[in-house]
Symmetry: C2
Subunit: 258 residues, 2 copies
DNA sequence: TGGGATTTGTTCGTATGTATT
DNA sequence: GAATACATACGAACAAATCCC
């Protein structure tokens, strides 16, 4: 028998696939705040049972990306304005700490990686709103990871994701949330190992992001089924049951607001 | 039929009871880092099925209080020394922010509540190590909640709990983790609305706590069954199955204290 | 090293609760 | 407002992995 047994199955936990898929869909604004997340629908799309879907949803709930009410199921979270401000305050606090740490510890290799990241942002800027948002958040997460503090990095990652909700709810459409030039100046301050300046620039930058994020009115919401198709890495299994086959290839079934 | 149907059941989510029970047991050092947490045993003690236990365990895992490995189940987390330092760094960062906020916003009523909390600490100091630890952590959580930032408060709560693990692992036995006098001086700085001073005192205080926490060697571990009895609020149901009946009718099974 | 006992991972059925007509 | 349709809460049971002797 082979030494490497059949690793085809659970290279990663099955619920982790669902978790990451939903998380990405939310970050990408493919799922919008308030969108309902029925366990059955999600399970079908990902070819998993409700148990695993629940697991993923609970994880997202713990991160503040999903709201769950006792007998009413899950929905993408709709942070209040107050909560939004709290999130930005926490981000500023933690990311200032990241700056202070990195100004001391950063290596040339890390600086190069940051520059590469900003290059990606620049390339996507204006062209592809989706990629633009993704990369901008990734820059902040990358900084936090480079600081070496896993605890702080987890919190920053969580908060950056929640900022995507805030932008979706209150931001102007297509407002790229991070300016490339601001990221560049942060890198420069780090290169000079000027921690105070880097922290100051980061605080200012986040202030700008918050300002851009808290401006507009709620927004439309598309339907959920198609969206998830793009985020399910595995094809849904054939769905041997008769019921699934009866599903209509319906047109635009938009679900209700609020 | 009665208008108020049988509400005896889910006044609060059933898994929440398990979650809080385990969390308290860990904070109290009743469960020590590395202790195994078998789903069946916990379920029996709390009179719940494994589904609910798993839910609680996953929540604790998300908070960093429990480690879960794929087919090996859950155990109380054993943070590494590095992780311990990261936790304290994150705490210092967030709690400084709390100080800055509170120095501006604190009310006389809140100051009184803080003093009452410190009184409890003083009363318990030296007398009851368990209560002492509980109250000391509660002071920090209370401060964070008073800041009004729910996001920061959640993180602080989480980090304070994880500090209990660190003290259990690396601290000297019976080391009360917080000095009452240090808490008092923090209150004084807040009363004078001196944010810089409050932040400085808090940073110093946490440095002291970290110093006290990172000194000694691992520790003994008691058995799990009895411990959980004290944290299960509901009596375990009769366990109608035959298997459970074969369990030895051990001697003093007292539950429900407190 | 093998086999049995134990524990975890997952599915799915039933009961219960909520929304809708 | 009652009945229906639907979604969730929970638990029992099965499958697979691990542990232990």
């Amino acid at each position: 028998m082979s030494l490497l047994k059949d690793r085809g199955r659970s290279a990663v936990s099955r619920s982790g696939v669902i978790y990451r898929g939903l998380r990405q869909a939310i970050s990408d604004h493919a799922l919008l705040p308030g969108d309902k997340l029925p366990e059955d629908t999600i399970g079908e799309r990902f070819g998993a049972s409700r148990t695993l879907v629940r697991e993923a949803l609970m994880r997202l709930k713990a991160e503040g990306l999903v709201d769950m009410q006792p007998n009413r199921g899950a929905a993408v979270a709709r942070p209040s304005l107050d909560e939004a401000r709290h999130i930005f305050a926490a981000r500023a606090c933690l990311e200032r700490e990241v700056m202070a740490t990195l100004a001391v510890s950063i290596t040339p290799r890390q600086l190069a990686a940051l520059e590469a990241q900003v290059e990606k942002e620049r390339d996507a800027d204006g062209k592809d709103g989706l990629e633009s948002i993704r990369f901008a958040g990734a820059f902040h997460v990358l900084l936090a990871e480079m600081s070496g503090n896993r605890v702080v990095a987890r919190y920053v990652d969580e908060l950056v994701s929640r900022c995507a909700l805030i932008i979706a709810l209150y931001g102007q459409p297509h407002a790229s949330d991070c300016a490339v030039s601001e990221h560049r100046s942060i890198i420069e301050a780090l290169r000079e190992r000027n921690g105070a300046q880097a922290a100051k620039l980061m605080a200012h930058h986040l202030g700008e992001v918050e300002g851009r994020a808290l401006l507009a009115q709620p927004s439309r919401r598309p339907d959920i089924g198609d969206i998830l198709g793009r985020y399910a890495l595995r094809r849904p299994r054939p769905a041997t049951g008769a019921k699934a086959a009866s599903e209509s290839p319906e047109a635009g079934r938009e679900n209700r607001r609020r």
